[in-house]
Amino acid sequence: MSYRIPIGPYHPALEEPYKLDLVCEGETVRDAELKIGFNFRGIEYLAERRNYVQVIALMERVCGICSNVHTLSICQALERLAEIAPPPRALYIRVIMAELERLHSHVLWAGIAGKIMGFKTMFMTCFLLREKVMDALEIISGNRVNYAMNRVGGVNRDIADPDGVLAVVDCLEHEVTRVIIPIFTSNRTALERCVGVGVLTTEQAKVYAVVGPTARASGVPQDIRRAAPYAAYAEMEFNVPVESAGDVRARLVVRALEILESCRILRQALKKLPTGDFWGPTEEVEVPAGTAISRIEGPRGEVLYSVTSDGENDTPQRVKVRTPTYANMPSVRLMLRGARLADAPLIQASFDPCYSCTDR
């Protein structure tokens, strides 16, 4: 006999509001239904009623974790429409901000995963490391959540002390190598909770077109930084970690390895930071008529912005946002089928969902 367990929209097992209705037989999850929209703010609708300066600030509020990704995406789209090329130093600073944000997001996620597994020490360790990354972001931008770094034609602030950021990178790399990777890859408790749990096969990942670390943990080697480089990524050397198992452990390993690759990218960008201006010569930007598309590899995967201008008004005609969690979330149903009920919180957390992004 099957029974339904409603979880959410507000529940200790879910960090943000969404609703899972689990259909169970005994302790086994047979199916799941997802309901979203509890954070719906109508941001795309609002974007059509804000000017091009205001809309950058608005888009920064799509997400509290990957806020920089959203401003970078919309600025890139507007630069494509207006045919503006930011100076090289700005492109490098964009890479540095994007990778620090990825570190912040991945370390935060590792802490949450540790907490759900019952590893409070891991949670505290990760959040201590996350604090260091956020300190670096604050030193650069003056902010800890919405960094306000991107503008059309460049960035708003320079990086005055690259060596200070490098020290954070060294510390993080050391701690990830010394603590996080060994625990997540060899500790018996972690393995018991993660290996073979919440599997998304390569075929399923392709059919559901999942993105980011979730796709790469299922053997799909896509990464927009590599496939369609933007900012200064074409000048960076890095690997795209891919695992084939498609389980929770594979998602953990991919993100842990991506932390090391982000450190590698940061070291290159900080050491090769070009001299010169960090924004273009103009204060006011005229956006001609047309549609431009920008894609970014955010911490959770590909973010797409499509921006349309009528060339007459100072407000966009349309701003479309496709966030990575929006692409990934439908696949959680596949991950949950056949799983143990007790593993459901970890499985739904394992693809690092962001409901704020999803609902917009």
């Binding site: 929209g37 598309i293 496709r322 929006y326």
Partner: protein, 137 residues
């Protein structure tokens, strides 16, 4: 580029790809979206999303179907008339399109023929077309 050059012919449309502003664009109101979806899946393309936009001149809807082929973004564009905002669903061919079709139905009142809608973003009972609302109405 040569690999995608045959796609317009295979779809039976007369247009050609135009590369600009972050994508390759193919615009034609005669695109058969189900044939397009089948063709892209046969080519191992990854469905990215659909962008919908109200056309200011006539109240119709423009739909942009975005696909990724090895890092290249391909966008198929078609328009729906204001009195016929209906196009075939592709969600049975491409499950990844399920949520975005539901969202576009809720935002722009587009009917994707051949499917049912369960509420996604809006609450049960809300009318479809929330993004079509004008402040002076």
């Amino acid at each position: 580029m040569s690999d995608i050059a045959t796609i317009p012919g295979e779809l039976g449309v007369s247009g050609t790809w135009v590369k600009r502003t972050g994508s390759q664009w193919l615009s034609s109101d005669s695109i058969d979206v189900r044939r397009m979806a089948s063709l892209m899946l046969e080519r191992d393309a990854r469905f990215v999303t659909i962008t919908a936009m109200e056309l200011p001149d006539n109240g119709g809807i423009r739909l942009d179907y975005h696909w990724d082929v090895g890092g290249e973004l391909l966008t198929f564009t078609l328009s729906l008339k204001s009195d016929e905002k209906r196009t075939p669903s592709i969600h049975d061919l491409c499950p990844a399109a399920d949520w975005i079709e539901r969202e576009i139905h809720e935002y722009f009142a587009v009917d994707f023929a051949g499917r049912e809608y369960e509420p996604l973003l809006l609450r049960t009972g809300d009318v479809a077309g929330v993004n079509l609302h004008k402040e002076d109405e």
